[in-house]
Symmetry: C2
């Protein structure tokens, strides 16, 4: 497939079908862009009404072109494109970029038209980018099939975008800033080639050091995760997801016509796949630039060199927010700094060299710190001052950080006085940010990536204790209904090794009393009814029943209560369970996500679930390390781990989550599965599912 | 005081003491700035070694100036400044800006020097800005006493900064962007004039519509709150606080030598005083610009007009994050839009007019929405496209929003193609942001301000039920120690109307049994010991004791337990209390903040306090509305309000917090006071303090 895709970016020749000689037409702009940035292959405008455009001989049809054509760029009314594709097929074209809109994004008619387009391309095995895109730019070969004004300089950022406009906006932002790119790829409707294909392609592209993505939806989440996990071990993927909120999702869906999944599943997937998710378009550019230009930080210790206290304070806040530290400069280092700097300078970190600090002082201070401290991150900060030349300071920063193996990000708080310094720094691969508050997110992203990159590969868990055959026959023997309560869910969980609270089903008071006798008092009773999913809200639970007589009272009382709360509910019986000793109640659940599959959840259980929303997520399959991290992320996890003095049996929770993961992978028919509460006992004493329920798709 | 301060900004004449004829000196730059931006008063450089500088006759001493001098700007070695101040005093100078550093910021010696400076200025009643500042700019009069390069255009932002460098950085950012200012004021060490004085001054300055502040610490928090509350009713204060995190606070404190308070107290104070706290320097500029240029939003409904879906999705995410909504466009409005726009355009909100959208389409779409929808906010978004002129679109936006009374913020995603449009929009008072993600924070700040501005003035509560005389004599009769447990804290709370759990003190088992008999079983017993503040951790509590015999067992058991946990603790007795019925446990507390005074806290109580940190804060004194909001902000408040089906007695919690507030205002000697837990019963049944403690300063 890779070879196939290379025709988009390294074609021997390209034809523009729908070329125009009218400079006010987009297709004129495209031909100009194809021809003006050094692309060396054949260029063939196709238009039956022109003889030549921009000096290139024009052909009536792709079939008339004397040479072979690898790539066509099509900008024509949507209706006639399937016919044109047919010609391309006959000509042996390998790849085709369809700029034109008028397809899926317009609704039903357009969808139909896109279907036809798909059929005609399949017939010839032609790969398609688009339709409804703005084209691609290969900065290294100079092939620019867009109508975007300007061309970024060469660099290592490969940019993949589900919005053509965002591509254009990015170019408009960076062309004067010297931020270098390898590719800019607009994907349009993703009829054929999608974001995952492009990530995979850029992973093998030697000019690309960082893959930057703007994404609105990912349709094949499982494949995305598989590819991204693999690619992230090799080079970083930085990603901005639009449509995170309900409002944003609405904006996306009216835009692309595709249903955006919940953001929880997306951000969980990104984290698990080592993808650096960023919060803004600005952070997407800044983080990608830093990853392209600089080595990964060797540690989270940073040193700030500044000529002003205020911006250093803002920068420190930003570092703190993203988990970075200020390195401790020891007495000796501080003495050496004092000797080189203004006597009034602050030699703690931030190193504040005061307003008059010269390029020489920046160089001296950075040198002293490099030689005496292991901090992985150097952060020179400058506020333009009357007597200091930002370009000279930029030169000092460049010479002190070259080959230093320290991650360097410069910050100059200004605009009119700092543009020349910025260009110079960017040319020398040192990122310059205009505002100190932006630095933390960039470094935080780099550190998260480094942690993923350096972590040993983990084995995804396949449960060894599941009795799969029995589970299969039990599951397929379930009644034909969508919702199942505890009585039906328990046996399935049990077959995967989940310990349920000891209990028995009873159809009468006598049976219940018999069951209680066998289990031993105190017991709990719960109503069994398909219509009642939240038993406690319907009065369908009685706790801590101490003897036979209390059981009789509780039994009658509960049934009366349930009948008044839910008169239409069919009561199938009661569960008699052993009353459990003291423990912490947690929730373990799974919700099927349309894009990514089984989304596992863990958190504080019981009555506080809704109030605190103390939950964390992972997408199955998971490794044991994943699950332990998932637990540790929550307050519930901290409580289990001894926050209140008692250490609970976290291992039992881990096993329960792994079991749930396996159930959901084995039975993708399950839409939701929840154990709430799972009662966790002291370390070594295990855990027991006190209640569970399940919804089938 | 106001009149006094006006000499800094509207002097009839200004002398620069320490003027230099050497263009590489800062003082040369200052004289140039004083003279080049249209200031019309007298200008007198003072330097015994020069005859004239920049065409101005030079004087040996301020005493030689033939005219009266209102303002002097001093840039001289720190040591000789007190002497110079003496001359200024003799000359009758009213105000003095001391640019020079070498004072408090250098440590002990400098502090001493600053003290001397203060004494000499007090003697003559001279007001001082600085020392260690970069001077001020009055954009309207043209008086610029800084050495900053460039001068912003005239506008309504009055900028006050505790960092001179931040002032310089801001100017460097805005001079080419047409963002208008009234004043830029660098405060330096705030020996005399501080941020609160300047807020108060700018509140009455007719050229200033918005007060923007960069702040590192506020020393007199109470006065700041009083002034800011008042000013915020008149014009908005936008504020960025540096040193929010521990790292940042360290950076600030090594910088200004002042101790930064905890950020919780700061952000609580800002919220209560109507101050719009922002998260970054960029947001400070953007929010101030929007407040200066645009009317406040009439509601939180926004309509997006865009030529690209991606940026509209990012913008929608940003709106959602800050509590804004996308207005619903009704069928009729959508029909009218369809008639005016490209048939493929999306007429839902965001209104996506597609890539080719012209200025005419922007104008038409905005007009239709203005005439058919009440949304208070209009958000035109443009991504530069090959065939669309950003300046023409800017003109359309200007003509459609003038006199519209809708808050308009434009967003153009780019840089190279959008600068001219930006300048034009800013000249016409429409803010243009480069990135869609920035819009939400700006509008969110405007809406928060509007809510404060429009809210009726509230009466701060003075408790009517406190028995102040009795409280005073009780409090002053307390033993001479720092920490007090429940036994000593209960009576004080009671005198302020707080209901404690019913209980009695006992010194022996027999007394305890007698007390329990009177209270009625079941009871709780708790140890009384000054050395034990966390009774449950020390084994000093026994719950739910049902009869006399159990009490005997529990009594012995508890004392044995306490003695093994805290062998050195002196046990003064036990408290016997009535066991309380079911209720929710919350925490109500107060911690004295060095800058702002009594910081009240409310949140989830009991064992989950530490795990969830579900707490909210207010600074005393508070209104009843403040307290109700404070409760509503937490998950605990939602639970009390019926989240789990039961509504609890919130009124009783409100009264308890008001009482606590009053105790702390009446006894500023109290460092900490905490009721944990306060057990809240069902609506109408009140609340009871189950435990309390107190620390005296």
């Amino acid at each position: 497939m890779q070879d196939n895709l290379s025709s988009f970016f390294e074609p021997q020749s390209v034809a523009l079908i729908g070329a125009s000689s009218n400079p006010s037409k987009l297709s004129y702009g495209i031909l100009k862009n194809i021809s003006q940035y050094g692309y060396r292959g054949g260029i063939y405008p196709i238009n039956p009404k022109s003889n030549e455009i921009l000096g290139f001989p024009c052909y009536s049809s792709i079939l008339d072109v004397p040479e072979e054509v690898d790539l066509t760029v099509i900008i024509l009314p949507a209706e006639i494109i399937p016919q044109v594709i047919d010609d391309c097929g006959k000509k042996g074209v390998k790849a085709c970029i369809v700029i034109s809109g008028g397809f899926k994004e317009l609704g039903e008619d357009g969808k139909q038209r896109e279907k036809e387009l798909e059929i005609s391309t399949r017939k010839y095995g032609i790969r398609i980018i688009g339709p409804n895109c703005v084209g691609n730019i290969n900065v290294y070969s100079g092939l620019n099939t867009t109508f975007i004004k300007g061309m970024p300089v060469k660099g290592g950022i490969g940019f993949v975008s589900q919005s053509g406009a965002v591509c254009g906006g990015v170019v408009d932002h960076v062309v004067q800033e010297g931020i270098g790119f390898s590719h800019l790829i607009s994907l349009g409707n993703e009829m054929d080639v999608n974001e995952t294909d492009m990530i995979s392609y850029l992973a093998d592209d030697e000019n690309t050091h960082v893959i930057a993505c703007y994404v609105e939806s990912i349709r094949d989440g499982a494949r995305f995760m598989e590819v991204a996990k693999h690619v992230s071990k090799k080079k970083p993927i930085v990603l901005l997801k639009a449509g995170k909120s309900e409002l944003g999702a609405k904006a996306v869906s009216s835009h692309t016509g595709s249903l955006a999944g919940s953001h929880t599943a997306y951000s969980t997937a990104f984290k698990q796949a080592g993808v650096i998710e960023v919060s803004s378009l600005r952070a997407l550019l800044q983080t990608s630039m830093a990853l392209d230009m600089q080595p990964l930080p060797q540690n989270k210790q940073a040193v700030i060199f500044t000529n002003a206290g205020g911006p250093a304070a803002l920068l420190s806040d930003s570092l703190d927010e993203h988990g970075l530290k200020l390195a401790n400069l020891n007495e000796k280092t501080q003495q050496m700094l004092k000797a080189k700097l203004n006597p009034a300078a602050q030699t703690m970190n931030p190193v504040d060299m005061l307003g008059g600090a010269t390029q020489g002082e920046y160089a001296q201070a950075m040198r002293v710190v490099k030689e005496n401290n292991d901090a992985g991150i150097l952060l020179p900060v400058l506020v333009p001052q009357a007597l200091v030349d930002p370009v000279a300071v930029a030169r000092a920063i460049i010479s002190e950080t070259q080959n230093s193996q320290r991650t360097t990000i410069a910050c100059m708080v200004g605009k009119q006085s700092t543009q020349e310094a910025k260009l110079l720094l960017h040319q020398q691969h040192i990122p310059l940010l205009d505002y100190p508050e932006d630095v933390g997110e960039v470094l935080g992203g780099m550190l998260r990536y480094k942690a993923y990159h350096d972590a040993p590969a983990e084995t995804l868990e396949i449960s060894r204790i599941a009795q799969k055959e029995e589970a299969r026959s039990y599951f397929h023997g379930l009644a034909d209904q969508k919702q199942f309560g505890e009585a039906e869910t328990r046996p399935l969980l049990e077959l995967y090794g989940v310990k349920n609270v000891e209990g028995k089903r009873a159809d009468s008071l006598a049976e219940a009393q018999q069951a209680a006798k066998e289990l031993g008092y105190p017991v709990v009773i719960k109503v069994i009814s398909d219509e009642i999913l939240h038993k406690s809200d319907a009065g369908g639970i009685r706790l801590d029943i101490k003897d036979e007589r209390s059981l009789a009272d509780a039994y009658q009382d509960m049934l009366t209560d349930v009948r008044s709360h839910a008169p239409e509910a069919v009561i199938k019986g009661v569960l008699v369970e052993k009353m459990q000793k003291q423990g912490e109640e947690v929730i373990v659940g799974m919700k099927w996500d349309a894009n990514f599959g089984a989304l596992l959840m863990f958190g504080m259980g019981g009555i506080y679930v809704e109030a605190f929303k103390d939950v964390s997520f992972r997408i199955a399959p998971v490794s044991e390390v994943d699950v332990r991290n998932m637990i540790a992320e929550t307050a519930a996890g901290k409580i289990l781990n001894g926050l209140r003095g008692i250490r609970y049996d976290i291992d039992a929770v881990v096993q329960t989550i792994l079991a749930l993961s396996q159930v959901c992978l084995d039975f993708p028919e399950i839409q939701e599965l929840e154990i709430n509460p799972l009662k966790v006992f002291s370390k070594g004493d295990g855990a027991a599912a006190l209640d569970s329920r399940m919804i089938i798709k």
